[in-house]
Symmetry: C2
Subunit: 125 residues, 2 copies
DNA sequence: TAAGTGTACTATAGCAGATAGTACACTTAA
DNA sequence: TTAAGTGTACTATCTGCTATAGTACACTTA
């Protein structure tokens, strides 16, 4: 389900956030589903509970999951995607960065579009 | 030419690397052009010379610039873009990350394609 | 010779990430 | 009621990366 790359420069808690988002989008986790508890997931991934807690806090901040005190954490039932201006700018920056990087590798617009289409095929299945 | 965001979570030396890449791609810097010296650029950006040196070292590692000892640093004349497998995987990861993030913001495939087209229009002018 | 180049060090401070451990209030099931 | 499991909130510590400051050296050019 979730695999962590300890050697990655990307922080572990961010990897957890991303993997859970991916799971939700790909349908592995559906609205209303109970998430693994913090202690449980930390054991599964052999990482610190605080790290999982940090990831869950971020996901809750983004309204993707909800917490019921004493019971557990659940995938939000009423998630409404919305376009925050800051997040949109960040997205654009990341994409621009990727485009420049691709350009330096000799990857042009058409080829990049193909790569993106390939990723969408992976995800939306 | 180059502006640094000190508040960004992105390291300064990476911002410098990116901005110079962008300059080369957009034609502001052409093959054979002399780069500003490390001490000069560090003064322009009010950052430490070591930080600029780190950025230049990275650009040289990627063969985008070349150093002639005692003379200075120049934009490579013979840069051959090549697709390193590691870098390609990183590019794909970044794009996948962006797609998942976009999805969470309610931005679908079509809209993302439009954003990317917009970025290309900005760059290739 | 003097100024300017890149490079290579050492040392220091600051910050973010990750871990360890403890404690508390809550819910649920026995 | 009790025990186990839940999220949460702390403190403390360690590590690595980033950035800065300062110094020194070999090189090239005017």
């Amino acid at each position: 389900m979730i695999n962590i790359d300890a050697r990655s420069s990307k922080p572990i808690f961010e990897q957890v956030v991303y993997k859970i988002k991916e799971n939700i989008i790909m349908g592995g986790l559906s609205p209303g589903d109970k998430m693994p508890s913090i202690r449980e997931l930390s054991k599964m991934l052999t990482i610190n509970p605080n790290t999982v807690s940090k990831a869950y806090a971020e996901l809750e901040r983004q309204k993707l999951i909800e917490t019921i005190s004493g019971k557990g954490t659940y995938v939000s039932l009423d998630y409404k995607p919305k376009v925050d201006e800051d997040r949109f700018r960040k997205l654009r920056d990341v994409l621009k960065d990727a485009i420049v990087e691709a350009h330096c590798m000799g990857i042009g617009q058409k080829q990049l579009a193909e790569i993106i289409n390939g990723i969408y095929k992976d995800i939306e299945r």
